[in-house]
């Protein structure tokens, strides 16, 4: 975990309201794992007061990339930041996706901007970038360099969006040579409906799924979690909650887990679906 002033290498709109920002953050890039996030100070002063959390979307060499949607003051300020300026970020934070060696088939389900951490995960799973061994971490089961390559692993990515125009990262995923299915709410591309409905449809066809990883709106995740519970497929979800400190100290970002409250920033943001009390969401 580091607090650094990261230089902005790139900050551009990719589709309306959606931006990519690339930051020079060697310390963070060096340690980042898929599913972890950074806590960004959108500007000095009091307005807004708090940092804003964003999943790490890509991490390569000394750089990290964030994919973000403008929804309020903080993200708007971020979208106006100029290349060359520095911003204050804390990271990498939280627990990422936990992937065991020996997987055969993984489904990644992305709802809207929820695709951000899943691309990072897909890239690592597909073997294009490498997992780093963790120094002295208590984390149990992380794939290491040698235990994975793209031939062994069957990766299916489900991308959900409102309309065809709002599908994110399609080209990026194509470059990974993973299987891709698309759901649009208005039917303007492929499956018409919610990505969770598409997932439900596919579940009947797909066999031997070892793991489902999902990120998106809370209600989508709830639905995915229920389906996986029904089909007994291990499932990990990346959750969101309003954050204060972002590092586990304030107990502000909790959600109800099976055994009490869990801190999204420290115990998550990625949780096993069955750790969560979904009826409280």
């Amino acid at each position: 975990m580091y607090q650094i002033k990261a230089k902005i290498i790139l900050n551009k709109k990719i589709i309306p309201e959606h931006y990519k920002i690339c930051l020079d953050a060697p310390e963070i890039a060096g340690e980042a794992k898929p599913g972890q996030f950074v806590h960004i100070r959108a500007r000095e002063g009091y307005d807004p007061l708090l940092r804003r959390p964003f999943s790490i979307h890509k991490s390569q060499g000394e750089k990290i990339e964030i994919l973000y949607k403008v929804v309020g003051k903080g993200t708007q300020l971020l979208s106006r930041k100029k290349i060359g300026k520095k911003i204050d970020i804390l990271g990498p934070l939280g627990q990422g996706f936990k992937v065991n060696p020996g997987l055969e088939k993984v489904i990644l389900v992305a709802g809207g901007i929820g695709v951000a951490p899943l691309y990072f995960l897909a890239e690592r799973l597909a073997g294009y970038t490498h997992w780093k061994a963790e120094k002295g971490s208590k984390r149990q089961s992380i794939i290491n360099d040698s235990s994975i390559n793209k031939n062994q692993l069957d990766i299916l990515v489900l991308l959900g969006a409102e309309t065809k125009e709002k599908i994110l990262c399609l080209e990026d995923f194509k470059n990974l040579n993973v299987k891709i299915e698309i759901a649009t709410e208005d039917g303007s591309e492929s499956f018409k409906g919610l990505v969770s409905d598409l997932f439900f449809q596919l579940l009947s066809k797909e066999s031997q799924v070892n793991l489902v990883c999902a990120c998106g709106p809370a209600l989508m995740l709830k639905r995915i979690a229920e389906l996986n519970y029904r089909y007994k497929i291990p499932c990990q979800v990346s959750l969101e909650q309003r954050m204060g400190c972002g590092i586990g100290a304030c107990l502000g970002c909790t959600i109800k887990g099976q055994t009490g409250y869990l801190r999204v920033c420290r115990n998550g943001p990625v949780f096993e679906a069955d750790e969560i009390q979904w009826n409280e969401i």
Partner: protein
């Protein structure tokens, strides 16, 4: 200015029997039990750590959402989530004790009895510089009246605590009262070693789209720069009415903010919400106070206290 003159500056301060190497603490509930921030800053540099409230039994806390942002402020309704005093002593305190900094344990309860048993439990424990008595909780016995809004309940609680424990008692005052100096005076008479002020200001915020309160608990405590003028005013009022050392807090984000409290009468200050925004805040405040003293030609921090013209 030369680093020579900076070395001659004495930042240490005594709050009754409590000695701090410098007057900058971190406020209860905003720094956990130190573990997380230890990864980001050197805890040995802090004047002290006021740990997250500890209760007799473990507490689950309030339903989410627990935080909401307001103009220059933060509403929180954590609900005293903590693992209880036993786990605190076994798993949290040993870590904190490793550092050369004052450890002040914030204690809370819903009945007088709970506070007293907590104090008993902590009395013989090594490595605790003071107990900070959080009297902002509703007294379930007395029809939910907040202890800290009633001078008599405050007096009774602090008096009894003093009979049970030798550890210095810092009473933490709530701003949600008509006259904070009344509670301050009651605490002084009951034998408090020092006072800390202010706790959060009761607030509420509504999401007009969903028509629901932004906090799961409906209301919560307002902290951050928004409340600073209120806190500075209460510091100034209290400084004039009691003879106890005062620890000031409420919206401090930099040395200038901290100095407002100190000039108004604070013997020490605590950084709360600002830790979330910039974990280095406390260290920068220490540096900034030093610089101010240099520029003003003051060698002993004590001479700054209540230095308002």
């Amino acid at each position: 200015m030369s680093s020579e003159s900076k070395k001659n500056i004495d930042l240490s301060v005594r709050l009754g029997r409590i000695t701090l190497k410098n007057p900058v603490l971190v406020a209860s509930g905003t720094f956990g039990y130190g573990e997380e921030y230890a990864e980001l800053i050197n805890l040995n540099e802090l004047g002290g750590i006021m740990v997250k409230a500890v209760t007799l039994e473990p507490r689950e806390g309030n339903p989410p959402p627990r935080l909401a942002e307001t103009p220059a402020g933060l509403l929180n309704a954590i609900g005293l989530e903590n693992p209880g005093v036993d786990v605190f002593l076994k798993e949290k305190l040993p870590f904190l004790r490793r550092f050369q900094t004052a450890i002040i344990v914030n204690i809370a309860g819903e009945k007088e009895e709970e506070y007293l048993r907590l104090a008993e439990r902590l009395n013989q424990v090594k490595g605790i510089s003071a107990l900070e008595v959080n009297i902002s909780c509703p007294n379930v016995k007395e029809k939910g009246l907040i202890f800290g809004t009633d001078p008599e309940q405050t007096f009774s609680l602090v008096k009894k605590l003093g009979e049970i424990t030798d550890i210095p008692l810092v009473v933490k005052l709530t701003p949600n009262v008509t006259d904070i100096t009344k509670i301050a005076q009651a605490s002084q008479e009951a034998g408090a070693e020092a006072l800390s002020l202010i706790n959060t200001v009761l607030g509420m915020s509504i999401d007009v789209e969903t028509r629901k309160p932004k906090l799961g608990n409906i209301t919560g405590g307002l902290s951050g720069p928004a409340i600073r003028p209120i806190a500075v005013r209460m510091m100034w009022q209290t400084f004039q009415k009691v003879n106890l050392p005062l620890i000031g807090m409420g919206g401090i984000t930099d040395a200038e903010d901290a100095l407002e409290f100190i000039l108004a009468g604070a013997s020490a200050v605590a950084i709360g919400t600002a830790n979330f925004i910039d974990p280095k805040t406390a260290l920068e405040v220490i540096e900034g106070i030093k610089q101010y003293m240099q520029v003003k030609g003051i060698k002993n921090f004590k001479d700054l206290i209540g230095w308002l013209k």
